[in-house]
Amino acid sequence: MSDANNDIVLEIKDVHKSFDKLEVLKGISMDVKRGEVVAVIGPSGGGKSTLLRCATTLEKVDNGKIVIGGDVLCDGGKYCDKATEKEIRSKFGLVFQNFNLFPHFSVRRNVTEALIHVHKKSKDEANIICDELLLKMDLVEKADAYPCNLSGGQQQRVSIARALATNPEIIFFDEPTSALDPELTKGVLTVIKELAREKMTMVIVTHEMAFARDVADRIVFMDGGVIVEEGPAYELVTNPQQERTKAFLAGY
């Protein structure tokens, strides 16, 4: 592997994905460099979530190549073995739109469970990592609370802590603030901004245009299963080149 490739955390090449007869991804290619923040925007049904789900092993592509942290998840639509898949799953984190926290676990256990039982850390090690993350997420006093007693914004921050706990090389967010009341989105966006400052590699599907413009290095505009336009965040938002991008941004 060449040195140039080492700096690319996520490589997606000509990915195709259909649900029955409906082709949702029609040849998507994108690279994400280490430390880069990429926002994915676009109209509903454009395939943004599907792309994220393919990259995070929740859906299988029909064709194309996905490489995460140097490990090939699939190539030409052919998938790696179970061991590699497990290795790949330890290299990324995923934050869901509706959190998907484990309701029967305390906040602490939500964050530490995978550390202890997947990554084989000791309880003490896991707790130290957890405390650090909760401090960062402004949730220190919630360590022993259960998700049902937290606000949506707090729950989403717990799920970000859970995704960060295993120290992934890249984190995917699928509309992290869409399920939240407007006044609760701020805390979550602040946390993500902070991660961007720390050079965490992130791919964020979002409808928050101002946030994408200010936080992302690069924006990818997806529509109808293809990438219509991509470029530096500020330029793409303020001076889009494609008609479809212009039309979409005019709605904000």
Partner: protein, 224 residues
């Protein structure tokens, strides 16, 4: 004076007989739960299987066992071996047949309750567990099953309470459980008193079970 003594003596002998029968009642109750819950889980798994033959077979099983009287099933399990294979399985088989029929029957109900619980879990729970790297069995035993237990507890409680009363059906196989004893005592004494006492036993047992189940339910109410 003599009259009250007679009544007391009668009550005492009734009590002794019912207590003897109560052992069998407890045994039918306990053994049925021990066998029918795992069997129910297995049938539930089969019912949700992607292999059509297995799923169909489990569906048929559930449908037939829930759709026919338990009393009929008891008689079939007991007399079946004799009429089909011409084998006589001895007197102990009465009790064994009772446990078999009860377990098969209750497993069908439990299977459907478990299926409802498992299918009510959101896909997101599986997906969150998958991307965190949990194995299939870790996901099942750590994430899914504990939540399913909480969800199915009210329905399972219902079945448990029904089972206490259903044990009386073992009378058709002349198993010496409490209801059989009560019937015998009632016809001998020409009195309903043994039935009333038996009724009190069943009710007391269910009161205790209700109390325990409420405690269990409370212990899981720390989340919703």
């Amino acid at each position: 004076m003599d009259g009250t003594n007679d009544v007391l003596r009668l009550l005492l002998s009734t009590l002794t007989q019912l207590v003897q029968g109560f052992g069998y009642t407890l045994a039918i109750f306990g053994l049925t739960l021990i066998f029918s819950i795992p069997l129910g889980l297995l049938i539930c798994k089969g019912r949700m299987s992607k292999i059509p033959v297995i799923s169909l077979a489990c569906r048929l099983y559930i449908s037939v066992l829930r759709g026919t009287p338990l009393m009929l099933q008891l008689l079939l399990v007991y007399f079946g071996p004799y009429y089909v294979f011409r084998v006589s399985l001895g007197n102990d088989y009465r009790f064994i047949a009772t446990i078999i029929a009860f377990s098969l029957n209750y497993a069908a109900y439990f299977a459907e309750i478990f299926r409802g619980g498992i299918q009510s879990m959101s896909k997101g729970q599986y997906e969150a567990a998958t991307v965190l790297g949990f194995s299939k069995s870790q996901t099942y035993f750590k994430i899914i099953l504990p939540q399913v237990v909480k969800r199915v507890l009210p329905s399972v409680s219902n079945e448990i309470i029904t089972l206490v009363k259903d044990t009386s059906l073992a009378q058709v196989l002349s198993v010496a459980e409490m209801f059989t004893k009560a019937s015998a005592a009632a016809s001998k004494q020409v009195s309903v008193m043994p039935f009333i006492v038996a009724g009190l036993f069943y009710y007391a047992m269910n009161l205790l079970i209700e109390f325990i189940l409420n405690r269990v339910e409370k212990s899981m109410s720390y989340y919703s």
